[in-house]
Symmetry: C2
Subunit: 80 residues, 2 copies
Amino acid sequence: MKARVHITLKSGVLDPQGKAIGHALSSLGFTGIGEVRQGKVIEIELAESDPATARASIEAMCTKLLANIVIENYTIAIDA
Amino acid sequence: MKARVHITLKSGVLDPQGKAIGHALSSLGFTGIGEVRQGKVIEIELAESDPATARASIEAMCTKLLANIVIENYTIAIDA
């Protein structure tokens, strides 16, 4: 079973990396670009076969290691 | 219109960041963890309202700036 965790900065938290990407795109000539935000995606292979247990385990990993819950949000997607 | 670009390392390309996450999870006591891969997600707000044009524009951004197509794959999702 494979889990995919999306980690994004909470709205309101400054995202300098996203801003840099936005500026770079503008200077390359792309127009009509609004806000750009960069986040992370982490794909984890799990031996666990029960989706509910897998999700609980990933949830624990997110709060303990993967995400900084003060400034980041995370969403978990489990692929069968 | 909002676009979301996922950028992941091609399979076969060494992912030391993913490996480090996998080791850290194991040392925190999580078991049954297989391969871990880390990628990027970039969210871009576009003024463009036509999905096809938006996708073409994002495609150009990916090849020119966002992804290193030698070692990375990208997928584009357009939200209405």
